[in-house]
C-alpha cells in the first residue's frame, strides 16, 4: 500500500516534469520566434530586450533556459510579466486560485449530490415517467452552454427582475473573499455554482444511471437479491457502491480541469477573478511568463487530482489494491 503510494508520487513528479518541458519548448523554443521580444512586449526598447535576454538566459543553451525558467517559477518565484509592467506572476496566481477553488468546490458539491440523487432515483424507477423526466432534464442541462446560461441568469437576476423580492438579494458581479465576509461570499457564488454545476449534473446523472442499469444485470446484484435484501439496499449498498468506482474517476478528471482553469467561461461571465480568467487574459496579451505559470499551475492540479483519484481507487476498489 505504502509502496503503491510512493510509486504514484514518483509518477506524478515525472509527469509534471514532462508537461513543464513541453510547455517551455512550445512557448520559448519555437524556432524562428524570439521569446525575448515576446516577453518584453511590443515596442520594447533595446535596453529592455537586453535585460530580458540576460535574465532568462536566452543567449545560453536550452537546458539552461529551462532551468532558469523553472527556478524563477518555483524557487525564487520572481517571474514577472513584462506586458503587465512587471507584475509578479506567482502571487497573481495565488490570488486567483482561491476564487476558482471556491467556485469549483461549491459547484462540485452541488453536482455530486444532485447527480447521485437523480441517477439513483432514475435507475430505481427505470422505465417510468420519473426516469424519463429526470433523464430529459439531464439532457437539457448538458445542452445549455454555460456562457449562455450564465448570461441569461445575469439578465434575470441582475437587471430585469433584480428589484423583485425573489432576486433582490443577489449581489453585483464579482467575488467576495470567504475570510472577509462568509455570507457575502456565499451570496456572490451561489448562482455561479448552480450555473457551472448544471451541465455536470446532466452528464453525471446520466452516466450513473447507465452504470447502475448495467450493473443490475450483474451476477452479484442477482446474488444480493437472492439473499433476500430489500431493493433499496441492493441498489445502494451493492449497486451504487460499485458504481462509485466509475463515478470517482470521472469526477477526479473534471474537478481537476475545472480547478486548473477550465471554469473560464463561468468566471468571465460572472466577473470572478479566477485562474481561468487569468489564463484567458494571458493568452490574449500573449503574456508568456503568465501563460507558462498558469499552464504549470493547471497541470499540477490535473496531475495531483489524478493521483488523488488513484489513491481513492485503492480505497474504493480492493481489486486495484492487490494489482499493484
Amino acid at each position: 500500500m505504502m509502496m503503491a503510494l510512493l510509486r504514484r508520487l514518483g509518477q506524478t513528479v515525472f509527469v509534471l516534469f514532462g508537461i513543464s518541458a513541453l510547455v517551455f519548448l512550445v512557448f520559448f523554443a519555437t524556432p524562428g520566434a524570439d521569446p525575448t521580444a515576446r516577453i518584453a512586449g511590443r515596442n520594447a526598447s533595446p535596453q529592455t530586450m537586453e535585460k530580458v535576454r540576460q535574465e532568462y538566459g536566452f543567449n545560453r543553451p536550452l537546458p539552461v533556459q529551462y532551468a532558469t525558467m523553472m527556478k524563477k517559477l518555483f524557487i525564487t518565484q520572481d517571474l514577472a510579466s513584462y506586458v503587465d509592467r512587471g507584475e509578479l506572476v506567482v502571487p497573481e496566481i495565488a490570488r486567483a486560485a482561491p476564487v476558482t477553488v471556491s467556485l469549483v468546490c461549491g459547484a462540485a458539491i452541488i453536482w455530486v449530490v444532485l447527480s447521485i440523487t437523480m441517477g439513483t432515483v432514475a435507475a430505481a424507477m427505470k422505465g417510468t415517467w420519473i426516469d424519463r423526466g429526470l433523464m430529459m432534464l439531464g439532457l437539457v442541462g448538458i445542452s445549455m452552454p454555460v456562457f449562455w446560461l450564465g448570461q441569461v441568469t445575469n439578465l434575470i437576476t441582475q437587471s430585469r427582475y433584480h428589484d423583485t423580492w425573489l432576486f433582490s438579494w443577489v449581489p453585483g458581479l464579482g467575488y467576495v473573499p470567504l475570510t472577509e465576509n462568509p455570507w457575502g461570499w456565499f451570496k456572490a457564488l451561489v448562482i455561479p455554482w448552480v450555473v457551472l454545476a448544471i451541465m455536470f449534473i446532466g452528464i453525471y446523472s446520466r452516466v450513473l444511471r447507465a452504470d447502475l442499469v448495467a450493473l443490475s444485470g450483474e451476477d452479484f446484484m442477482r446474488t444480493a437479491r437472492a439473499k433476500g435484501l430489500s431493493p433499496t439496499r441492493v441498489l445502494l449498498r451493492h449497486g451504487l457502491r460499485t458504481s462509485m468506482i466509475t463515478f470517482v474517476s470521472l469526477f477526479g478528471l473534471d474537478f481537476a480541469q475545472l480547478v486548473g482553469g477550465g471554469a473560464l467561461l463561468t468566471e468571465v461571465v460572472f466577473g470572478l477573478p479566477g485562474v481561468g480568467r487569468l489564463t484567458y487574459q494571458a493568452l490574449t496579451n500573449l503574456d508568456l511568463p503568465l501563460i507558462m505559470a498558469t499552464v504549470m499551475y493547471s497541470a499540477v492540479f490535473v496531475v495531483l487530482a489524478n493521483a488523488v483519484v488513484d489513491i481513492l481507487y485503492l480505497f474504493l476498489d480492493p481489486r486495484v489494491r492487490d494489482a499493484r
Binding site: 446474488t223 474504493l316 476498489d317
Partner: protein
Amino acid sequence: MPADTPRSNPTSSAPLLVVQDLCVSFPSRGRMIPIVEHVSFTLGERDILGLVGESGSGKSVTAMALMGLIDSPGVQITGSALFRGQELVGLPQKQLRRLRGREIAMIFQDPMTAFTPVYTIGWQIDEQIRAHERLSRKQARARTVSLLAEMGVPDPARTADRYPHQLSGGLRQRAMIAMALSCNPSLLIADEPTTALDVTVQAQILELIRSLRSTYGSSVLLITHDMGVVAETCDTTLVLYSGRVAETGPTEALFAHPGHPYTAALLASIPPLDGPRPHRLPAIAGAPPAPLERPAGCAFAPRCTYVHASCLPAPPPPLVPTGSDTMIVQRTVTDTSSLESVDPTDQTRPCTTTHNTLTEQSFSETTISRPTQLSACVLPAEGTPLPPGLKNTVPAPGEAVTTTQILSPPTSSASGGPQL
C-alpha cells in the same frame, strides 16, 4: 403469517416443493416467447433433484422463477409452485424476500462474479444473516466464521476478511455455499455450482452439497448440464429439453434405462470409461431449437432418430409413466393441471415424453423394469444399430459419414458417467 411456516415441524409426508405446470414466457417484439413450458416436479424433504438440460433449455429460468428473481418487464409466469404449501408464483415481492435467503437459498454458477467485488466475503455473509435475523455484527460474524469452517475453508476467520478476488474459485464457491446456508434454508437451489470450477474442486463441492442433507437437512435442486454430476449426486433427475420436461425419474432407473431418445442420446455421448472405445463418440446432430422456432409437437423431433409421424403435430406429447407401474398418465392440454388415466395398453399413444416411475424409496432399493407398452419412439433393444442421427458430428476426411453406431448399453456402470 404464511411466510413463517414453522421450520421445526414440517408436515413430514408432504413434499417440500411441488411445481405444477410452471410456464415462463418473456415478451419480445409484441409476442410472448415461452421459455419454460409446463414443467412439473416434486421435491421431497432432504431430496436432491437434478435438473438437467442443455444451455437454453430453461433450467436457470425455472430456478429464477421459483425464487421470484425474474423481474424483466412483461414476463408471464403461470402454473403453481407450492413451497411448504405456500404458493410462490405470484407471491408479492415483499413476502418472497422473506423466503429468499432464509427458506430458499441459491448458489450461483460462477463464484467469480457472484460476490460483490468491493466487500469482503465475511461482510457479505454477515449481511445475509443480519437481513433475516436480529443478530449483532459480532454474532453474525461468529456464525459466518463457523459456517466457513464447516464448509472446509481453511483459516475461516482470516478468509472472512478477504475480498472475493483474493480467493480461489473453489474457496469462493465454498463461501457461496456458506452464505446460502447461513440462515439454514430448507431448500437450496444450486445453479450449475460446479461449472466454473476445475474437476478436483468440482468433486469436493459436490461432496459438500451431498453432505448438506445430512448435516443441514436441506433439500437441493441441482441444476446442471453435466450428466456425470447428476449420476453422482441426485436422487431424482428431470431432463429438460427446450423448456419442456423430456423425462423424469429416479436417477438410477433413468440412467439405466433412458426412456426418451434425448436422454439416451445424452447418455450415449458420455465417453465410456471402460469397455471397448467407440470409434467415434456419438453426438446429437443439430442444435436445440430457439424458443420461437420450437416445434409444435415434440421439441426433440427434428433431431430425433426415432421420430415418427405422431410426434410432429401439436400439442407436444404428454408425459407417460413407464417402469413397473405401467399406468400411463396423460396430461390433457385443455386442463393442464389435471392428470387423467389412460388405458395402459394403448399402443397408439405417442410417447415421446416418458416418465419413469417415481418411487418413494431411495433409488438403490428400486428396481424398475422396462416398460412394455411404449409406442414408436422408445429406444430399440440394446445392441440394435442406431439409425442415422446419433452419428458423428465431424466425419474424418475421406471417410463417409458413419451411419450406424452401436449405442453402448446404458448399464449401471455407465450411469456413473465420468467419475469426477
